[in-house]
Symmetry: C2
Subunit: 338 residues, 2 copies
């Protein structure tokens, strides 16, 4: 069915944006909670529970909007829905395993699967979500898309392993941090953003523009996410503040201060190296040092740089409410810190 054009305000928020592709997102939601493997009731219940526990569905939104923005006459197709669901399945699978790895009890303000059930269920359900993604991937019957997501899955794990290897490493550079963020987050945004246009068989320069959009949006998203771990309201974040630093995950705001050469930066280094950030007092001191030494401001500049790159890559796309919506997403990601 042909989509009717919608008047779009650039000041729109994510909820309004959702309405533009509501039918599609409802189909994505149904697919996410389906047991694609067999008819086991327990597994279906767990899937429902996992996907009812919130999440902005940013990756499937990007997937649908970017698919439509690459077409002169957007048409609702089953493959676009499958592709959009696929991106959220991979994201959710990695969250479920991250929570096991980090021993987290809370996500989005709700009990994690590992804390509510146990690690065993969470490892297996993460695997099952990856398997559901593989089933979606196979349904697309598209070797290029299979190749892209195979690499995404690998980058995701490799990104996490590199983050683990760099835990409590105070010599980490912004470049290493960006590379890790690409693997851990941005390649999935990149795939979600360009996958639909590849299915649409549009010309290659359009695919490359959407790739660049997704990659830079993904980097920006990760930087903001890391910033929220220091700045955010714990109630909105749904997890305790400063948990990255506590786990030894050194992100941009910390790196910027560590690179400076004065007493505060040496103190910060000591707090991390001696694992004093594991305790509330040490963590609070580290957060204060970061805030007092422009760690936040420098990181906002970094995020804005990638937001600009993301917006610029949309330059050659035809005017459409979907293109506007893709721009809005970038603004919304940045505005989370306001």
């Amino acid at each position: 069915m042909a989509k009717t054009s919608t008047i779009w305000k650039s000041s729109a928020n994510l909820t309004e944006l959702y309405k533009l592709i509501q039918l599609e997102m409802e189909s994505v939601e149904l697919l996410l909670a389906s047991n694609l493997i067999d008819d086991n009731v327990y597994i279906r219940e767990l899937l429902g529970q996992i996907f009812q526990s919130g999440g902005k569905r940013l990756r499937p939104m990007v997937a649908i909007l970017a698919s439509y923005a690459s077409l002169p006459q957007p048409e609702l197709s089953r493959n676009h829905i499958i592709h959009a669901a696929l991106s959220e399945l991979i994201h959710t699978a990695s969250l479920v395993h991250d929570d096991v790895i980090d021993n987290s009890n809370l996500r989005r303000g709700k009990a994690t699967l590992n804390s509510e059930k146990n690690d065993k269920v969470a490892v297996l359900m993460g695997d099952l979500l990856f398997a559901q993604a593989s089933v979606c991937l196979s349904r697309l019957m598209h070797p290029e898309i299979v190749g892209i997501y195979g690499q995404v899955l690998g980058d995701l794990c490799a990104g996490e392993i590199k983050q683990m290897l760099n835990a409590f490493n105070t010599n980490i550079t912004i470049d290493t941090y960006i590379q890790k963020s690409i693997g851990k987050t941005a390649t999935l945004f990149e795939a979600a953003s360009c996958g639909g246009s590849i299915l649409n068989q549009v010309n290659n320069s359009l695919v490359l523009d959407l790739k660049a959009y997704g990659l830079n949006l993904g980097i920006c998203f990760q930087i903001i996410d890391d910033l929220l771990d220091i700045l955010g309201k714990a109630s909105e974040l749904g997890k305790p503040l400063g948990s990255d630093l506590q786990n030894g995950v050194i992100t941009a705001p910390t790196i910027y201060v560590l690179q400076q050469d004065h007493g505060d930066s040496l103190k910060l280094k000591e707090l991390i190296q001696k694992r004093l950030v594991n305790e509330p007092a040490g963590l609070a001191e580290a957060m204060t040092i970061i805030k007092n030494n422009k760690g936040i401001e420098s990181t906002i500049d970094l995020a804005n740089k990638y937001a600009d790159l993301s917006l610029k890559s949309l330059h050659n796309l035809s005017v459409s409410p979907y293109k506007d919506a893709l721009e809005t997403i970038v603004h919304q990601v940045i505005q989370q810190i306001n």
Copy 2:
């Protein structure tokens, strides 16, 4: 290059069988330990370590042999190597996660990744192995094979989840046990066995024969594996005896005795339901009851039934050393208990 025919003895063991396809298996081995995702040294070292720790490579052997058995003139092709490696990657990924789930310290007589490193590394490396499998899958550029393995991955997790749900359930039937074994083990053997023939584009009845071979071999393999947990020499098994029962995993030998109606079977039920099998004395008593009440003999009959089905499905294949080797594998699997 064309393969030269080799004289093949039906009494051959797995090592001789390996020699028949040595070149291919060496290529598989190289691919298994390669980091297909990026050039991270640490990840490459971990992969090397995982694949150096042994394993019979039964799935890739079945994959190569069945591919060749389906061709009049077997040719070494890169796709057969990738497909064979894929089957072992999936198997190994699931073992790495199983060891986390079961909190196992030993596998094949060596320290598991979770015990040598930690759960965090093991969850991530299991995910990375699944991702390496996805990369292999995408290189095959074959939508039907992608579909088959997508379902295999799902069945594998669903099989494990069902096993977990049935832990310490003394009402489990042989039928439920077989269904779980199909999901947990046999569908991967089925895929390995038929994948190469699908790549070879041979006629459908030959593909179906090889599917049946793999499925029944896989069920037989799982039954024998479960039997070895009770009968096997701990030194050869590389893990403690009776660990299934201790974890509440009720397998064929136990089910056959539980189904009987006498004092011993009621005692066995009590030992399991009251978790007395968690302790050495209770476990030893349960194992004695199983052995004294034909639990072993009935299970051997069951394994032989699936071995026969597996051998029969090879009936229509042309005579070749590869067909002989596939038959030998069935005999070798059964002979493990002698």
